[in-house]
Every structure is written in C-alpha cells, then in structure tokens.
C-alpha cells in the first residue's frame, strides 16, 4: 500500500509519524510505504509568530529541520507536488518525479493574503511570516503613542489571534509605561467581538475593563494610507496611527491550479476527511473547506483520526472512526494569563476565567510542540 503525504506542515508531519508507528511492521515487510513530499526542508511552528511580533520569542526558536522530526520509515523529499493526476492515482513533482499512490493525503496549508484589500500591504503591520513579525516588533518598539487599530480579514487563520494580539498589545504598551498614550481600537467582521458566543461574552467586558474600544460588523474594504483611514464594507471608517492586520488567507496556489478547490480549499467530507468524490484522497488542516477553525489543533486532531483510519485501512481494509470536529484553542489574555476553548461539531466551548497556570502551559506547549509534531504528545 503506497501512502503519499503532500505537505510537511503540522498536519502532514503528525500524520506521517502517527502512521509510521502504527505501520512499523508493514513498513519493514514492504506491505506499506510512506512518502512525504514537501516544499521545504524546514518546519515552522507558526503559532510562535504571534510571540515574535511582541518580542517574547525569537524567530530561530520556531524552526527545526523537517527530516529530524520524522520517523525513519518515512521517505522524505523536498520536492513539492505541482500536478495532481487523481484519475491515474499519481502526483508529479517540481523535479519531474512521478509518484504512484494507493492513498493520497493533501496537507499543503494556506497563505496570508494582504493584497486583496487596497492599501493594506503598504500601510498595515502583520505577523504571519517571520519577516513581517520582525518588522512589526521593530515598529512597535519605535511607536511613541497614538491610535492603534486592529483589523481582521475573512476568512483568517487561527480565530483566536485577533483577541490575543489585542490583549498582548495592551500589556506590551503597559509594560513600556505608555499605555496612557495609546488608544487600542479593535474591529471585527461579525456582530460580536468573537465568533464563539461564549468567548465574546468573556472578551467584551474584558475589553471594557482594559479601556479597549471596539466596533463590530466591520469588514475592511480599503486603507487610505495618506489620511491614515481604514474603511469598511459596511460604510464606516476609522482613523489610525498604527494599523495591525489579521489578514485573510487562501489555500495554496497548487490546489487552485489543479482545479481541486475554489480559493485553494478542497471540498472535504466532514467526518471521513476524504476529498468529496475521491474515496482514497484525504485532506488535512488548513487545506479543507470545512467550516471549522483553521488552527494547528484542528490539523492535529484530524491527523490523529486519519492516522488511525489509514492504518486500519492497511491492516483490515476499513476505517475505524469519524472525525468529530474537535478543536482546542489556547487564548492568551495578555502576557501572563490565558484560557482555552474546546469544542466540536455538536458541543460549543465554555471558556473559564484566564489564569497564570494556563498561560504557563501554553508557554510550555510552545516548546512541547516538537514532541507533538513527532507524534509523541
């Protein structure tokens, strides 16, 4: 059984290691083979970029060599797929190599798009790449005071990021002794301050307590850099001295070019995680079109489900369980307190009061992630 995993991010890596352990006998006897095709020899811990933007992590802490994270039984190639030939059960890579598969997993992820909003890339700070996170840190360090506006694109990666960066900016300026010189103004696309109703019920009074103002039903339309004004689709506008953007994101270009899904999101069965219409092609993490959070934990839990199912398909010819939509998100409530939200397709979250203990667990997880990627946690 030839298993090909396209993408070496969080989902692909956890799945590959999970499968290599479950199928170690089959890998030895040649009954199964696992191949991973990735665009990079490095693996980035993307959630760490938030901390780089406020100076509490350094970029070099976010990387490991991808090969060092993988079980020895996995054939790893830095050779991204360019063509998907699903009718022939083959993929073709940049180098021209053709790989046959019995089971294909597509986990190519997503990319932040600043260009969709006129003026945004030129006038906003953001933190979704190493380069932009470092640039944002330098800008924050130089900032002498004024109005800071947080704006949120749709759809966006990691739905907790807008709240987290806002609370972290509050503490960043407070710690520098200049919070009284900074107005923090948060904008959000829907009619409350967060998608999750229970999270919004906690966060809105927290904003009030900290003197953070907010405007809901605000979808950015364009940025007037000359006059430093952000305009919304809903017809309102707000002035800024410093604009911080949570940009919209899209699936990868290779998905769009191969006609696998509009905007790079592949239509995916919500419980079985196969690509719609393709029994032996599975989709993982940010790459799906599922209406759930595009977050690392989503990729993690999906990978665990697929690891069990694909291993069982090799061993007994059948999947064994459904993905239930499980997501677990930490929520940083500043620099030293945090809470979390856990939910699935049927049960909404019930976040508790933030504590120092949860914050320290998140800080620990930022290091423990590498054990998680190896499939150990």
């Amino acid at each position: 059984m030839k298993i090909v995993i396209v993408g070496g991010g969080m989902g692909g890596t956890i799945l590959g290691n999970n499968l290599a352990r479950r199928l170690h006998r089959e890998l030895k006897t040649g009954k199964a083979r696992i191949t991973m095709l990735s665009a990079s020899d490095k693996h980035m811990y993307q959630p760490g970029l938030l901390y780089v933007a406020v100076g509490s992590m350094m970029p070099d802490e976010l990387y490991r060599d991808q090969a060092s994270l993988l079980e020895p039984g996995i054939g790893f190639h830095v050779d991204p797929v360019e063509t998907f030939m699903l009718d022939k059960r083959q993929v073709k890579t940049k180098s021209g190599a053709v790989h046959d598969y019995d089971i294909l997993v597509i986990a190519t992820g997503s990319r932040a798009i600043m260009q969709g909003i006129p003026g945004l890339a030129e006038n906003a700070e953001t933190f979704y790449t190493e380069e932009t996170a470092v640039k944002m840190l330098k800008r924050l360090r130089e900032f002498q005071g004024g109005r800071v506006v947080i704006t949120v694109g749709v759809p966006h990666k990691c739905p907790m990021a807008p709240l987290e960066i806002t609370f972290m900016l509050h503490d960043f300026f407070k710690e520098r002794g200049m919070r009284d010189k900074v107005q923090l103004h948060y904008t959000y696309p829907i009619g409350r301050v967060h998608s999750l109703e229970n999270v919004a019920k906690w966060a809105a009074p927290e904003f009030d307590r900290l003197g953070i103002t907010y405007e809901t039903l605000f979808n950015m339309k364009e940025v007037d850099g000359k006059n430093k004004v952000l305009k919304s689709e809903e017809g309102s506008s707000t002035k800024f001295d410093l604009l911080v953007a949570i940009p919209a994101h899209k699936g990868m270009e290779v998905v769009e070019k191969n006609g696998l899904g509009q905007n790079g999101w592949i239509p995916t069965n919500r419980t079985r995680l196969n690509m719609e219409g393709q029994e032996n092609v599975f989709v993982l993490g940010d790459t799906t079109n599922l209406p759930i959070s595009k977050a690392g934990s989503t990729a993690h839990f999906e990978a665990e489900t697929l690891g069990e199912n694909i291993a069982a398909m090799v061993k007994v010819g059948s999947a064994v369980r459904d993905y239930d939509g499980k997501v677990f998100c930490f929520i940083e409530a500043g620099k030293d307190r945090a809470t979390y939200a856990m939910f699935n397709y049927t049960t909404p979250p019930d976040p508790k009061e933030p504590t120092r203990a949860v914050h320290w667990f998140k800080v620990a997880y930022n290091k423990l992630y590498w054990a998680s990627a190896r499939g150990l946690l």
Binding site: V154, I190, G191, S195, P291, I292, S293, F343
Partner: protein, 77 residues
C-alpha cells in the same frame, strides 16, 4: 444574467461560524450569485440578515427544517 447558486454547509460551525462563512463566500462570489447558508445556530436567523442589510446585499429566503436554518442571500454589489 442569472448568477451561480452555491451552498455553504455551516452546520455545526461554532467557529468561525455561519456568518463568517457567508462573508468569506460572498468575497469569492460574483454580483448576482445566490448563496444558501445551512446553519444549526438559531442566532443565524438574526445575525445573517443584520449583516446582509447593513452591507446592502439581499435576503431571498429564510426557512427552518429539522433544526437546520436555510438562509439564501444574493450578492447585490
């Protein structure tokens, strides 16, 4: 000219939620397209029309069947 009709299955979506899914769908749609949102959140029956009205799109239908709301919206601009 008739626009395309598309369905957004946001059942069981607490986060990002049906309205955010619709906003994303509208960004990808063309003027005249009809998007039908499926939602198991009864709040959608209020918050989707509120946003649609504020931005200036058009609600075509709102129905509920076995706990699933079907809200059809036309992109107007």
């Amino acid at each position: 000219m008739m626009g395309e009709k598309r369905k957004i299955d946001a059942r069981g979506s607490f986060c990002p939620g049906p309205l955010m899914e619709l906003i994303a769908g509208m960004k990808a749609a063309n003027v005249g397209d009809e998007l039908e949102v499926l939602s198991t959140d009864k709040g959608s029956a209020a918050d989707i029309p509120e946003w649609v009205k504020k931005v200036g799109h058009e609600i075509l239908a709102t129905t509920e069947e076995n706990g699933v709301w079907h809200i059809t919206v036309r992109k107007a601009k």
